[in-house]
């Protein structure tokens, strides 16, 4: 199999390899990583063909493009030797076609004269066709990788361009241009990466149990999936008569976002619900002929922290008879608000895993975000479930806090050890979990507040444009003094 050079972006480093692997998985292609380093934007992979390379890279957010590898080396002498060694058989077929030859310097620059000299040093390739900067039939690139502030490059590659990445779509879905968002909307790039990790694709059914304004389902629909979602806050789904953007009035809702992107036919709709009291059909349902998973993927950014108000249905204390009667008599009234209680962040993660185990098809995926402290005295625990394999753990570091994207695969029932499934079912049916809130370290919560501030800080921050009076979850809660 030929070697290809992937030009990655040098950010979200720990997501990049997992994204390429996921894209190979979704295209049902084998990929072998020959060279990968978190500190480098150059990665060498082995793939069956150019068309495989294109299939994989065209959906990628965290790369720029893929090239057939024509040579590599630490110096130009080494590079030229390598080119002569591994690619001389290919030169002739490009001898007379219109072509383009350019330079990509990572962490370095070359002036025009240097560029011309470098390109001319490859004249032995014998390309005699016309040079075209646009619409060339073949496009070649010399890549130079420099160490920080080094005068000379430390490594070089020559590649023939095969395909560009799908990174441009991050502009299409940019939150700055989205009609309806909230303070907790995930930025478009990472929402699309999440959809890639979970293998969203045409024909599949995807669900987000914490959909907010629908960022993840929209990203999954972009890749062809049919999607639905839910949220405990009905206002976020139906909209509030305004958007999180200052100066915009009129009705904005999740459906409107799907319309904006022309994805409405892939949107099944949404419902209001608490994940811990989900209306979804679960595996113990007796009508079901078999275990009957039906979701291909679940993607979510669950709530955490105080301000975001992780709440579930229920009351802090058991209702007494009189209170029960009051609820019973009142619940059909127009203004009735179902009581909610705080819940622990670790318990909801376990609930999500149990839900995924019950509703995913075999090999279906769960991609879930989880914030953690970069703190030595808090142990990092990746939640696990006997029916789920951890596929990848990607970290987006902030100052004192990080968030992780955890991706799981639903095992086939035959892979699950005897008894484990029954145990998990029982656990889940028990439903109500101990409220571990009190065990939560104060520090942890303080950290989350800071984490949220940071999360909302990056450029073009939609949070700053929020019109609190319009009542999108985050600022609404804050104004009402609950944090």
């Amino acid at each position: 199999m030929p070697d290809y050079l992937v030009r990655l972006v040098q950010m979200h480093e720990s997501f990049r390899q997992a994204e390429l692997q996921a894209l190979a998985d979704v295209a049902e292609l084998s990929i072998e990583f020959v060279k990968y380093d978190n500190d480098s934007p150059f990665c060498i992979v082995r793939l069956p063909s150019d068309s495989a390379a294109e299939a994989i890279i065209s959906r990628s957010l965290l790369s720029q493009g893929i090239y057939e590898l024509w040579g590599q080396g630490a110096t130009y002498d080494a590079l030229h030797n390598s080119v002569k060694d591994i690619s001389s058989a290919k030169w002739a077929q490009y001898g007379s076609v219109p072509f383009r030859f350019t330079l990509d310097c990572f962490r370095g620059t070359r002036d025009q004269t240097q560029q011309r000299d470098i390109i001319e040093s490859f004249s032995y390739l014998g390309f005699n066709g016309p040079i075209r900067m646009r619409d060339a039939d073949a496009s070649f690139k010399v890549f130079e990788e420099y160490a920080d502030k080094a005068p000379e490059p430390m490594y070089l590659y020559l590649g023939r361009f095969v395909a560009a990445s799908g990174r441009d779509v991050k502009t299409t879905y940019d939150l700055k241009k989205r009609h309806y968002i909230s303070t907790t909307s995930m930025d478009a790039e990472l929402a699309l990466v999440t959809a890639n990790m979970a293998l969203a694709a045409p024909g599949k059914l995807f669900y987000d149990p914490f959909m907010g304004t629908g960022g993840f389902p929209i990203a999954c629909a972009h890749f062809g999936a049919v999607v639905c979602g839910s949220d405990i806050d009905g206002r976020s789904i139906r909209g509030t008569g305004g958007s999180a953007r200052k100066g915009q009035t009129g009705k904005f809702d999740v459906r409107g976002n799907f319309k904006q992107y022309g994805l409405e036919s892939q949107y099944l709709g949404a419902f209001v619900s608490d994940l811990t009291n989900t209306p979804f059909r679960l595996f113990q349902h007796s009508n079901a002929p078999s275990r009957g998973g039906y979701l291909d993927g679940i993607v979510c950014d669950p709530p955490y922290g105080i301000r975001e108000g992780l709440k579930v249905l229920g009351t802090r204390d058991m209702l007494n008879d009189q209170e029960r009667t009051t609820h019973q008599n009142r619940y059909k009234d127009a203004g009735y608000i179902p009581p909610k209680k705080p819940y622990s962040f670790t318990a909801i993660q376990d609930d999500i895993l149990a839900f995924a185990a019950a509703t995913l098809v075999e090999n279906g995926r769960l991609s879930m975000w989880m914030p953690t402290a970069n703190d030595e005295d808090i142990e990092l625990v990746i939640p696990t479930h006997p029916c789920l394999d951890v596929v990848s753990v990607c970290v987006q570091p902030f100052n004192k806090w990080s968030r992780r994207l955890l991706t799981y695969r639903r095992k086939a029932d035959s892979e699950i050890p005897a008894g484990a499934l029954e145990m998990a079912k029982k656990e889940y049916e028990k439903g109500v979990r101990a409220d571990e809130l009190n065990n939560f370290r104060r520090k942890y919560f303080e950290g989350f507040k800071e984490f949220e501030r940071q999360r909302q800080a990056p450029g073009g921050d939609p949070a700053k444009q929020v019109d609190g009076a319009k009542g999108i979850t985050g600022p609404w809660r804050e104004k009402n003094g609950s944090s």
Binding site: E264, F271, Y294, V361
Partner: protein
């Protein structure tokens, strides 16, 4: 909310979940709307074996929609007899009438307003602006 969703939803009350009568939820006093969309054959093929067919028929009947066949169609029923393909040529599959009927029921018929009622405990879930509300009152959690 598109009708397909009802094939996945039961009563939200935990004690109801294991009872056969809690699925499907029964639409009551509903206002339906047809929202046309492009047929999605790969999706229909994928989702077909996951459908609970008897329950889908029940709901279609309760909504007064045209009767669905007694037994679930198979994937082959969704595609029109393939045209003779020229050597090495990929031919687009043509959706059959069955596929188009299913598309109409599952993906173009939407519930706008009304209620979804549990057959086991009779709890009613309201649908407002196409969004069903499954939040449970204090005494039912």
């Amino acid at each position: 909310m598109k009708l397909l969703t009802l094939n996945f939803l039961t009563c939200a009350i935990k004690a109801c979940k294991s009872s056969p009568a809690s699925f499907p939820l029964h639409p009551r006093d509903v206002e339906l709307e047809i929202v046309e969309s492009d047929i999605n054959l790969p999706f229909l093929k994928n989702i077909l074996p996951r459908l609970m067919w008897a329950e889908l028929r029940t709901i279609a009947a309760e909504l007064g929609l045209p009767e669905l066949p007694e037994t679930a169609p198979t994937r082959d029923h969704l595609v029109e007899g393939k045209e003779e393909a020229k050597e090495g040529e990929e031919v687009d599959e043509v959706p059959s009438q069955t596929a188009r009927d299913l598309h109409r029921v599952l993906l173009e018929t939407t519930v706008k307003e009304g209620k979804l009622v549990c057959g086991n405990c009779a709890h009613e879930y309201k649908v407002m602006e196409g969004v069903p509300n499954f939040l449970l009152p204090g005494h039912l959690v």
